[in-house]
Symmetry: C2
């Protein structure tokens, strides 16, 4: 079974477990709307690629970890789109959750997705209970305080903030968790792998900044030009488009160079470089080729 199918099946299974008939139907709809149809699934694919590179045999546990990471990512998007933050009307080419279901269900769907991510870990790791705690802490740290997504988002509410801290927490943390947890579920040292995710996360953030200035709303599936409107820190704003493209390439090369020795390191390097081509806005990818 291909990686993309494994991810969708793991997400479907996690949600089906709790989306039973006695659950409020509109909450179920809002949660499914937040997770399906598939976005790029960059983080779970990265997690599974690292687990495979480390020679992992327990697909069930790896799929569960990858799915939990994606559930947390979806939760962060739902809350990030709320009127009190970005007030984004669209996401993945369809109305954002609060536009489709109202603000109360958007808050609740985000909460429910966070909770489900942790429950899913506990439910799917019963065969290796000794791994649950360490994996939960890796995944939890990437979304919680002090350096996870909620903290990253909270930097937007502070009078003084370093761009690096902001991006590392808001975007990088879940990428670092994807590589760390991918290694961890394969029984490898999580910490050695964190830097790979950090650099991919930073590259992804640069690509996101580039898309915000250089792509069409149709290509991205959400409004563009928001960084300038909201006066948010942006690599494209700081370095210019060409400088940001260079930075993106350096970061991906840095990620590849940081891959620790493992059975599948060559294949993983190819995956990361293919990923870099994928995340670059289409026009720029042609220019950069």
């Amino acid at each position: 079974m291909g990686v993309a199918t494994r991810i969708e099946q793991a997400l479907t299974k996690a949600i089906d477990t709790v989306a039973v008939p006695s659950c409020p139907p509109r909450l179920v709809e809002a949660v499914r709307h937040a997770v399906f149809p598939a976005g790029a699934r960059v983080r779970p694919r990265l997690c599974l690629a690292v687990a495979a590179a480390c020679g992992h045999g327990d697909d069930k546990a790896a799929d569960a970890v990858a799915a939990s990471i994606e559930l947390l990512h979806c939760a962060s998007l739902v809350h990030d789109d709320l009127p009190c933050f970005d007030d984004s009307p669209m996401r993945r080419g369809v109305p954002s959750v609060h536009r489709a279901f109202g603000e109360p269900l958007a808050v609740l769907a985000g909460d429910a997705l966070i909770i489900l991510a942790f429950e899913n870990l506990a439910r799917e790791l019963t065969a290796t209970p000794e791994r649950l705690g360490p994996l939960l802490l890796t995944v939890g740290a990437s979304v919680g305080m002090p350096h996870g997504i909620t903290a990253g988002q909270a930097w937007e509410c502070e009078p003084h903030v370093s761009v690096e801290d902001y991006h590392r927490a808001k975007t990088g943390s879940l990428f670092a968790a994807a590589t760390a947890a991918g290694a961890q579920v394969a029984g490898q040292d999580a910490e050695l792998w964190r830097v790979v995710g950090d650099r991919i996360g930073e590259a992804y953030q640069v690509a996101d900044d580039l898309r915000d200035v250089a792509a069409s709303a149709q290509e991205v599936g959400k409004p563009v030009g928001r960084d300038a409107v909201l006066n948010r820190p942006s690599a494209a704003g700081e370095l210019g488009v060409d400088g940001a493209v260079d930075r993106l390439r350096q970061l991906v090369k840095g990620a590849v160079d940081a891959i620790p020795p493992c059975p599948g390191s060559d294949q993983l390097a190819e995956v990361l470089m293919a990923e870099a081509r994928n995340i670059m806005p289409k026009g720029l990818a042609q220019r950069a080729a």
Copy 2:
């Protein structure tokens, strides 16, 4: 050390672990504001009372479970107070989190508290890793889909809802988890204890409805009369004040009768009856005595 001190220490420890200097300071403030100063701490006290009645020796694990339950309760209050739900200006006698820190930090503080609750379990149960998964699932079910707090709150967004399902999910679920997890951390069968928490939770909901019609805002620490304004289901509205007081007493008696055989059952019965006197609005407690 008394139970109240143990709870405050466990909550302080959980928050101090993540509230480090590199965390956004206003997020830290908002999280502390949501948790301190102490509310009634009914759920963690119930959890510790059950663990003690079951003859539990590992205070550290029990304290962690009790603290995680309270963190989740605080998270639900923060989100429940948001403008898109109750828009409550006050909580525990001070401004609600969104009034004190703004809506973005209120959303994020709630998210951070949910995440912290699960991290706290993983961090404090390292000595008994085989118990982490089952405890996490007990606690997670009480807040997630299909029958936890988020589902309960989501019933407010449905055109048709049974009052019983609504209250059981919105209030009862975390009480049922408090007794179930208290037994579980002591190595006892969680399911036998769930009904005790269910009944105490229902009693607490009736008391809350009574306070909403019969207490002063000063006594309660938040606005009263909100159920009628928001047209929410209420036991006091359905049964009248005297009927609701009778119902509350029956529920507490039912909870006491449901205590499974355990070394500390008599003491636990006393704790539950004292709790019932505590939660009754002051004027009604005198009338009922």
